[in-house]
Assembly symmetry: C2
Homo-oligomer: 334 residues x 2
């Protein structure tokens, strides 16, 4: 029996927001599986800012998506055919499944997929109980090293990663200032316990930061890149840690703005900026999940998923991250 797959392939490198004609939705017959391989039927796709960077030809931590290649993205698929004894039909796997209905997983890339537990709602395994949660956990705790009473600023604070960072910082006893765009997001951040919120669409970020960070800034968890860094640098305390997690403002690769004029503050304050990727922490995932599951059960971490529907809506769904339309972790149900 031949199976026909529907998939989005890249046709041209987008500039700014993606347009539907940067891609093409094509149908193809799938080849037979080899020994050791699996066929997944994708259930959910995960949308992350980093995906947008994979569509550029800038240097990155993964090679760019090539023209005519399926668009790379995370997601969850269900095994519908298995030539690998370790996997049964019906198993749910998370990994880079791509914008497509089916995903053939060859044995050599299987180590980059992970079975997800039966007892968790699938969307949460791409959010707080997935890479997003791990990013927040290790980025804040391992790189940022928060101490009780410190002031933590989080940009993109209402986003999937940012909101978990902000709540873990609260659990650690920090004063948390969240920066987000729009009244709904800011209101939600207050509801989940963030101490102070700045609406960057309505307020003057440098002024508000100066008012709110009365004791200076000890940690800046940067999910967005761009000019907030400069405002933060003017306010950092001795031995401050800036955790660079994401740089959504630069991911389109167009007209990269210059950086902060005041990096010299790092010398004056013996402070650091450190970039990190969750990929380097995957071997410690269980350690994080133990805490994260407990914190969610205890109501200390609130999470939300924004679930769009229909494979045909992938391009618009990706743009939601960059227009700020998403309310929580952006997913798409196929």
């Amino acid at each position: 029996m031949t199976i026909s797959n529907t998939k989005w392939v890249l046709k041209s490198r987008p500039s700014g927001l993606v347009k539907e004609d940067n891609f093409e939705l094509i149908t193809e017959e799938l080849s037979e599986l080899n020994e050791g391989d699996l066929l997944l039927e994708n259930q959910y796709l995960s949308f992350d800012p980093t995906q947008r960077m994979w569509l550029t030809d800038l240097p990155g931590y993964l090679p760019p998506v090539q023209i005519d290649e399926v668009v790379r993205s995370g997601g969850v698929g269900k095994v519908v055919e298995s030539k690998n004894d370790a996997y049964q039909v019906g198993d749910l796997l998370t990994g880079l499944v791509g914008w497509q209905k089916f995903c053939q997983v060859s044995a050599n890339v299987l180590p980059f997929f992970r079975k997800i537990p039966d007892n968790l709602p699938i969307p949460t395994t791409m959010n707080v109980f997935g890479s997003t949660g791990l990013t927040a956990y290790f980025g804040l705790l391992d790189v940022g090293k928060p101490k009780e009473g410190e002031t933590v600023v989080v940009s993109g604070a209402a986003g999937a990663t940012g909101s978990v960072v902000a709540q873990i910082a609260k659990i650690m006893g920090c004063h948390v200032i969240g920066i987000a765009g729009g009244a709904e997001k800011c209101q939600w951040l207050k509801e989940i316990g963030v101490d102070d919120v700045i609406d960057y669409k309505e307020e003057n970020v440098p002024e508000r930061l100066t008012q709110l960070a009365k004791n200076g800034i000890d940690i800046y968890f940067d999910n967005v890149g761009g000019p907030i860094m400069e405002s933060v640098l003017f306010l950092i305390n001795l031995n401050a840690r800036i955790v660079m997690c994401g740089s959504i403002s630069n991911y389109t690769g167009e007209n990269l703005p210059k950086g902060p004029m005041n990096l010299t503050m790092l010398i004056i304050k013996r402070a650091s900026i450190e970039g990190f990727l969750v990929l380097d922490y995957m071997h410690r995932a269980d350690e994080a999940y133990t805490d994260l599951i407990k914190w969610v059960e205890d109501g200390k971490i609130i999470h939300r998923e924004d679930v769009q529907e229909g494979l045909e809506n992938c391009p618009q769904t990706l743009n939601r991250l960059f227009t700020g339309a998403n309310k929580g972790k952006q997913l798409l149900k196929i």
Copy 2:
């Protein structure tokens, strides 16, 4: 007996290079010493880029020099009068002696002065056997953490700190690329064993860095700030360390240029930028001096001092650091 002191006081905050009329050379009668105090007759003054920043009213790790205050600078003075049993007439002390003939040291600031050993030439105690050497030693070894075979780029490589950094990196078995301005400095760097040299006044730094750092850059020891950072960031290896030691290009506080557009490279490469000040390492000075003295004796570290003369020449001497006229550590003999 009253003693009359001659000193340079700040009259106006300079813009760009200092001008003689930003200062005034005045004479004053010194007051009597209190119990516990010392009177030093200054022998040598040390000129360091950081002094220029103290003349601005930008935030810094020390407060700005106030108008009508003596210009702050390091140096070495000889005790000519002592009301403190721990110090004898004839002892040599190094500390912030200022642009003046005499320096009254009150008991409360004595902990910030240090006796210098008899067996070292005085100029070296402000260079490789002084803060400059400590800066190079701890900045490279503690913050940069070089490993054998790594590529280390040093800006301001022919300067007092940079040249010691470059040579310690060679001792550690690294491939060293030095950036300096002018043929004489570049030639000297080759003579002291730096592997590759870039003359930023004559060559295209980004192009040359790309050619020379064939295996990428593991450590960038930044003595100058400014645009080299951006060129370096494009070439960093996984887990690269950028040590921010100085930012001479920004010390005048005028028209601060924007920073690197590509800080996102820190994420891609899981790399860091860390600022440091030698002040935080003074308690470990002996550990460094043991190595530094041995390395100089063994001919593994070559140092040179550029000694100007005459208190009246302080302003021009400070500018030598910013025009690049100095050949090695800038000093002035009074």
